[in-house]
Amino acid sequence: MDTSSPAVFVNAEILKMYLGRRVRAVIQVMRNDAGVIVGQSTDGNQITVKGAQAFPPAHFVEVIGIADGSQSIRAEICTDFGESFDMTAYNGLCQLANGKFKNLFL
């Protein structure tokens, strides 16, 4: 298992801190444009995902890729989480994972 470049759990806020790095985020699909997904991140802000296929709106999608903008991710892997997902819990995780417990994750 390749642990050389772990993906950081991010939401829109934290994404900014990891530009150029591999990140993962769960977003709720708001709309699909050609090859681009625009979705809402777990803290309520918007994230754009490039290079991803289309997903049904209102579904939750996990995106793993490189952060290439303060609000965008260049997707490598996308997974559909379905229609129900606890955003608050995930957000809490993002905050903990990048805060006090960062060393556990990175």
């Binding site: 989480f81 379905g82 997902f85 819990a89 994972a97 060393n103 994750f105």
Partner: protein, 870 residues
Amino acid sequence: MAAVDLTRGAIAAISEGRVKDGVKPVVQVWEVKLVNTQQSTTERYRMLLSDGAHMQQAMLATQMNGLVKLGTLQKHSIVRLDEFICNVIQNRRIIIIINLEVLVSNSNAIGEPKLYDNGSASQNRVPSPAQSTSADQPVIAAENPQNYGGIHSSTPNIVQNVTRGPSLSPATEAVTTNSSFAGYYGNGVMSSRNTNSVPSEHPKSEQGVGRISESHPNSGYQNQRLSSPASVGAFRPPASSYGHPVQPAYQQPPPMYTNRGPIAKNEAPARIIPIAALNPYQGRWTIKARVTTKGELRRYSNPRGEGKVFSFDLLDSDGGEIRVTCFNMVADQFYDQIEVGKVYLISKGSLKPARKSFNHLNNEYEIFLESQSVIQPCSEEDNTIPRQQFNFRPVNEVEGLENNSMVDVIGIVVSINPSASITRKNGTETNKQTLQLKDMSGRSVEVTFWGNFCSTEGQQLQRMCDSGVYPVLAIKAGRVSDFSGKSIGTIGSSQLFINPDFPEAHRLKDWYNREGKNMSALSISRDTTTMSRNDVVRKTLSQIKDEGLGRSEKPDWITVKATITFVKVDNFCYTACPLMVGDRPCNKKVNNNGDGTWHCDRCDQSFPECDYRYLLQFQIQDHTGMTWVTAFQEGGEEILGVTAKELYLLKYQEQDDLKFAEIIRRVLFHQHLFKLKVKEETFSDEQRVKSTIVKAEKVNPSSESRYLLGLIEKLLTEDPIVVSGMQTFASTSGMSTVAYGMVESNNSVHSVTNNFGINNITLSTTVQEVQIARVNPLEVDSQTVVPTFVLNANNLGIGPVNVRDKVLPHQHMEVVVHQEDTTGNMVGSEILSATGLLPEACSLIVVCEMLVLIAFIPTVMLGSTSVSAN
């Protein structure tokens, strides 16, 4: 010896009631005959007394029986009548001799007496013309109360108005014939309390009077002036006798009665006695009281069968209270008649000792009504009977009361919490609402409403408090409990009154408005903030042992999140009785009769088909430890997903072991949220803590995540956060504080990076990785492998072999480090010793778990095949 003269004309005089006080006529006993009473075994002697000229029937008081037996008193004895009465019974005049003295035992017959015939021996009615003893004229001789029919003013009333007291509505029910009664000398109408004066004299005479053989119904004895108290001896008034009931003339043969007194054969004007005077030895009684509370018509079933019962409480004008209970048919009979707040006249119930566990009234007895009992509603209001009786105690006194004692309190509701649903000790759910009640003593107490009180009074009080009004609340029959200091809770028969119209309530309100509002009251109940979160107490498995759960008297109810690691497959179920007992199935283990039927011991029946109920034992583990638990039917079905019967058939009938194993295996290593009941039990001399599964739930990732987030939050805020840019876990819980820089002492805790060249420091640190590396084989025995611990992103040294086993990745440990001189890189340090897992590690573990859970979510959502547990 004829020396003793018989009093001439005595018989006539006696019969006519002309014997003066103090006169003790001397007569001769013409005959003595033993009469056997029908229903009692007492012997009574009937005699004929003669004064030489006339004879009259007489009855001898039983205390005189000895004289006859001994032979002192015999035919032709001459006696002096010291105390006697003359009464008319069934048209015959009888002299009742209460006390006599035998002057001459053996004598010759004197004279030729003829039976005295007092033509006007009439019944009880209006006094016969000849003897117009009018009401107010006391009998001629105090000793000779001769009232044959001399009924007085009251009598006519009574007689005509058979059994009716003026203010009472008739009680018309059947006559009871079996009890003995204190007769009563009502002076006229029986009103509730004026009989007090009467009994003192009467009881004695009543006793005497009562000694008539049962063949004679008693005429009403309006005997106000009965025999001298001196002759009390034999008479002891029944505990609270209030005289005899008046006997209106009856043609029927009287029922037998015992020595006590005449038996009322019909509803003589009921004389009302105070409730406080009721006792089982009381003869006839009637009480007039108001219903203060009425219970529900409850059905029950016990080994003797089924039945229904209902009770109500009575309060009379003297403040006496008593509970009345009716069973089965009687319950049906009276249930609809009884209304709270109305006044009734009740008689002919039986009195038994009160059942203190249910009955909290201040009375040793309880009334049980039978089919012949009488309940008459009183149509007019009786203001002397209060609506409700309270015995309010100030709150500060409640503190001194015993646990489980009953109390009435009144106070101002100063705060109230919303009602919550909680699980009681026996597992059932109910509603609970708490409020604080304050009163003039300056103290406040927590009052808990249970069950229906929450939805009724609780809601009302809540609304009132929310709108800023602080209402007065009076509680009757609240139970004091020593839960969190002293508090008061409602029980089934408690009564609540909001802003009642009592003087105490008004006083309280005034006090509150004036000063109470501003006074801070000391609560005698401790604040129970721990119970706020729906009573879900989350524990880890190791805490069961560490905290000694289940060891106290009551079982502990906890929730744990754990994984099933092993299921015991032998005896996973038992054969149970399917019959209903009350509204629950019996469920007792049944025995196989051998012929295909099953027999239950408790129900004592056999039946062809039994139920199969789970009795699963399995082992669960969490990150702290493991334990064995037992699951019964509900838990078992929840976990395995199949009914016990299915599983049983699968295994034993279809012998499908494969499928059986599959089902069992399916549940292994699944994490559940278990609600456990932990209790220590004694098994043949040894104490073991047993855990039973009450409920088993699948873990809901979402809610569990939130729970964990909360937990993390809590753990974080407990730690003083020491941040030096490095993520060191230095927690103060139980350990010394973190210090930075050079510290010489051995036991201080340092952040890893700040140690330079210091020997033997104790660090609190986290193991990141354990690498087993071989060190220079020349230096170390070739068989030892020395682990390297990577701590905190920095390599830290080599540990001695014995440490290796204790150390696991992510384990939080305290290490004593012997450090070589380095430039900050700890390579080369040697760990001298390590001590194990510290609580702080839990937070790490929790975070890890959460991470894992988050990972679970997508798979769960996608419904993918089972993911292996952590």
